[in-house]
């Protein structure tokens, strides 16, 4: 019987499509300058299919654009406005994911609601005009450089958040056993005070 089961198992394995098993969908979006890079995949490491549609809208549901993923579940979107970007993807079979890129991660040089004017660099009178222009040009470069450095950290942080730790596992079991204890205690109190009145529960009275 075991042998038969094993061979069936093997058959199932060969038929196995490489996706859509019961897993969480995870993804992340990271801004590098006005380029927003994102990736979508399953929690077991499989990435989204090539050509998965990602819809982008702002916080109020106004559509900003659409992109599709490449073979690695990766996509790039060029932001034109400095608004909150919501990324929504449907991987089929109930696997949906929504990711939000907060406004603060986009460069201040982009136009859009809620954006403050680029910081005025000429505050002290000694700065000459030429220097001011230089700073204006430098700002996007600096933002890009910083974003590029920070992106891997953000990714790592997101992966870390996604990962459940041993504490989570033990905590969950603890809750379940605690609830059981509570149930048993309540039951015990009930039978102790109610006595014979609550004998409706069929047989089994031996604890």
């Amino acid at each position: 019987m075991t042998k038969r089961l094993l061979s069936l198992l093997l058959l199932g394995w060969l038929l196995l499509p490489l996706h859509a098993l019961a897993h969480n969908v995870i993804g992340g979006v990271y801004a590098i300058g006005d380029q927003i890079e994102g990736e979508i995949g399953f929690s077991n490491g499989d990435m989204a299919h090539e050509g998965t549609l990602v819809r982008i809208s702002d916080g109020n549901g106004r559509e900003l654009g659409q992109v599709t993923t490449d073979a690695e579940g990766f996509f790039v979107f060029t932001a034109t406005e400095r608004v909150e970007h919501h990324f929504f993807a449907d991987l089929g079979a109930g696997h949906v994911v929504e990711m939000v890129l907060p406004l603060e991660q986009l460069p201040v040089t982009l136009a859009g609601s809620g954006s403050s004017k680029p910081a005025e660099p000429t505050k002290n009178g000694t700065t000459s005009n030429a220097e001011a222009v230089d700073l204006q040009q430098l700002q996007p470069l600096i933002e890009q450089a910083v974003a590029r450095q920070v992106a891997p950290l953000r990714k790592e942080l997101a992966a870390y958040k996604e990962k459940a730790s041993l504490q989570d596992v033990l905590g969950g079991i603890g809750y379940i056993f605690g609830l059981c204890g509570l149930g048993i205690w309540l039951r015990h109190r009930q039978t102790a005070s109610g006595g014979a009145s609550s004998e409706s529960r069929d047989n089994a009275t031996g604890a």
Binding site: L16, L21, A93, G94, H95, I173, I176
Partner: protein, 206 residues
Amino acid sequence: MHIVDGALSLPVLAGGAALALGGVAIGLKKMDYDHLPQVGVLSAAFFIASYIHLPLGFSSVHLILNGLIGLALGWAAFPALLVALILQAVFFGFGGFLVLGVNTFNIALPAVLVFYLCRGGIIAASPKVAALWGALGGASAIALTTILVAASLALSGEAFVLAAKATLIAHIPVMLVEGFVTGAAVLLIRQVKPEFLNISEEWDHD
């Protein structure tokens, strides 16, 4: 098996919640409180099972165990699974709170059905027959859950047949593993702890 928040339409969410609530109510009413620890143990087993991913081929699967839970608990599978699903949502981020009702219903109803279909089989005198019934229960619980998941999605606008077919095929390995595990579990429990399945009184051979 966990549908995530945002995949289903509002009527489906509400319907699922109502059905799950009904199931939990029946489960609590029918539950034999002397077996509460066993409900807890199986709830904990389900809670962990989804967390442990077994590598299989190029991908990985995780056990769901709703067949085994159904065989052991019957209607009490509803409260047991609800508790475990809440905690999974809190600790692991599986599923979500809005879809909790739908998820509970999709996973617990097959457990109850398996209880009625295969319960007679696992108390059979022959261990082999019992293990086979257990395996059948484990596998069919997954198949039923898959169909219910596809139906939930279909009611929210996805094409049913396509979705059902895709998820059913995708879950064939899970069904096989689950059937194997449930069958083996029934075999083991019958030998070492028959009272866990409440079958000690119903047969006296070994």
